[in-house]
Amino acid sequence: MEQLFQQAINGISLGSIYALIALGYTMVYGIIKLINFAHSDVYMLGAYIGYVCMTKLKLGFLPSLLISMALCTLIGVLIEKIAYKPLRNATRIAVLITAIGVSLFLEYTTMAIAGANVRTYPPLTGFMNMSFEIGSVSITMMQIIIVSVTIVLMVLLQFIVKKTRIGKAMRAVSLDSDAAELMGINVNTTISFTFALGSALAGAAGIMVGNYYNSINPLMGMLPGLKAFVAAVFGGIGIIPGAMIGGYFIGIVEVLVSGYGNSMYRDGVVFAILILVLIIKPTGLLGKNTREKV
């Protein structure tokens, strides 16, 4: 029983990280229907920026977090302007290939500058290093921080998209950008804003993961990026709470398979469940299956 409890905590904290990355994926997807492969590399850059702040500049967690988010926002917007904007009228798959190009570019440029080797964050200190024991079940402060930040950001994003003017603009642009322009919506600003938001999230995720696992490397975005992407699809891509649910789902299934089944089939089981879910609900858990009216 206690073990189950501990595994649940393991699953939730792992899932939070997937969810955090998945939120950014889903945001961008929701507006320009682009699977932004470079998103997980912005996350990686966030981790590196945090690393520089905390080890080289000896800044604390909070200022580093803010710097990382700010710089990632800038990077995200820049990527959008340089690589995606010229492709506004191209097919989605063309933009996808560009995104893969951007992803490779970020990975290997980082590798050329910082080396391929892992880098380590400084050990956590003080408040951040606390952990709580209940029986034999333990929870660390970092786990609590990650879970709470994820939930807060999810709620905030959902609020922005559903309730604010810019959120409405985002939805309009995603449905029909020409018609959105006719409403007086500035399509470019709206898309930039989405990238800014998504990239800020990625930056936050990067520095938190850096602190949590304290291991970062230039290819660190690949695996969690793929899983976050799966998480976003699982929950219904483009739907913010869906990304969150998908992230937690994958985290928990992984932990359960490793903890109670055969760890060698962990990823296989995740994908098998994903496919089953999609067969039953073809647009993901929260996706609405609206058949086009003819």
């Binding site: 073990q3 501990q6 595994q7 393991n10 699953g11 904290s13 792992l14 990280i17 290997y108 590798m111 080396g115 391929a116 080797n117 892992v118 380590t120 050990p123 952990s131 034999s136 333990s138 660390t140 993961v209 696992y213 304290n214 291991s215 490397n217 290819l219 660190m220 690949m222 695996l223 969690p224 992984e254 932990v255 359960l256 490793s258 903890g259 109670y260 760890s263 060698m264 962990r266 990823d267």
Partner: protein, 363 residues
């Protein structure tokens, strides 16, 4: 018409993983190699000829490795190819070596079947590191004899043949010694969260953990295990041997950790100290064993060429085969009939993040 080495040069091929999954091993190996080349050329080269390296990135891809080996041998006409770093990719280049009669030499391909298989020794393949079965066996003996362990848990990187070979050899020998493997759990390179498998083994009884994998994951596993309160000794292979292991795990967590090593930067040997100094000066960081093996690799091949006294590739092969008591920063060794080094394995003990003792286990 690709470029070849000039009359007063010796072409050496460098075929390493500079990008892709295991780029971190390849890049650091090449750092070591390039340091060695710099030194050799500064000292006037080999038999008066300077080394001309041809460096390629095989992207951690086996078929690229084969293609590049072919390119180095047939286009650039090199006299020897260094690398790749990992066993799989290195093995993929051996057919080319045999076909073109040019040696391929690896510093870190530890898989047993690299230089020899049921058809006998692979004529043009050499390595300067000990084998997986040797280190797996050595660790099993260490667990049974020195630590008096009877129950072990094995954790392995399931996607790596290196880790799987190590785990199999450890298990075989440990059970032959009368021990019992209580559980075997797997992870995948690139994972960062191992809490699930650690929570799972936590409730079992065992005396040691054998962790077959590289430092990148091992460091995190040690950290997460210790923070979950798993305090049993952790044994590992040469893949632990990097300063990052301690950085990743945090010095407090690295207690009762033992691993087999090719090289320790704490070695008192003056040649090691000199190497560490030079390396630090050039790259600004402490060399790990890949760097040391890369450095030794180049030096070893240079030594062979020097003794061969020619750039005839068959003669070079014969000279390498005849190597005895070669002194490198990773220890002194001779090449046996299977083109493997007869080399001592060092078992390093870590406490509080420091290497506190090392034991030499002769082969």
């Amino acid at each position: 018409g690709a470029e070849t080495a000039g009359a007063n040069e010796i072409g050496i091929g460098i075929n390493y993983e500079l990008s892709g999954e295991v780029a971190s091993y390849g890049q650091v190996s090449v750092y070591g190699i390039e340091l060695a080349i710099e030194e050799i050329n500064a000292a006037g080269g080999i038999n008066g000829k300077l080394i001309k390296p041809f460096k390629y990135d095989n992207k951690s891809d086996k078929s690229q490795a084969t293609t590049l080996a072919k390119k180095l041998m047939t286009q650039h006409k090199v006299v020897a190819v260094l690398g790749p770093a990992t066993s799989g990719a290195f093995k993929a280049t051996i057919p080319e070596a045999i076909k073109n009669k040019v040696v391929v030499v690896s510093g870190s391909a530890t898989d047993d079947a690299v230089t020899v298989d049921e058809n006998g020794v692979k004529e043009y393949a050499f390595r300067i590191c000990f084998t997986d079965s040797y280190q797996g066996t050595a660790m099993a003996d260490f667990a049974s004899n020195n630590m008096k362990a009877t129950k072990a848990v094995v954790l392995l990187d399931n996607g790596s043949d290196y880790a799987k070979g190590l785990a199999a050899n450890f298990t075989k020998k440990f059970e032959a010694n009368g021990g019992q493997v209580a559980a075997t759990e797997a992870f995948v390179a690139g994972d960062t969260d191992f809490n699930a498998i650690l929570t799972k083994i936590k409730n079992q009884e065992f005396d040691v953990i054998f962790l077959a994998g590289y430092y990148a994951e091992a460091g995190l596993i040690i950290k997460q295990a210790r923070s979950q309160g798993i305090n049993t000794p952790i044994l590992g292979p040469d893949g632990f041997g990097a300063p990052e292991l301690v950085e990743l795990a945090g010095a407090d967590a690295v207690n009762d950790v033992y691993y087999t090593s090719h090289f320790s930067e704490l070695d008192q040997d003056p040649s090691v100290a000199a190497f560490v100094e030079k390396y630090k000066a050039k790259y600004g960081e402490v060399p790990n064993q890949f760097a040391a093996l890369g450095y030794d690799l180049m030096m070893f091949v240079a030594d062979g060429i020097k003794r061969a006294g020619t750039t005839d590739t068959v003669k070079i092969k014969e000279a390498l085969e005849a190597t005895t008591n070669y002194n490198g920063v990773t220890g002194s060794f001779s090449i046996d009939e299977n083109h493997n080094p007869v080399k001592a394995v060092v078992i390093v003990e870590m406490q509080n993040g420091q290497a506190v003792s090392s034991q030499r286990v002769e082969q």
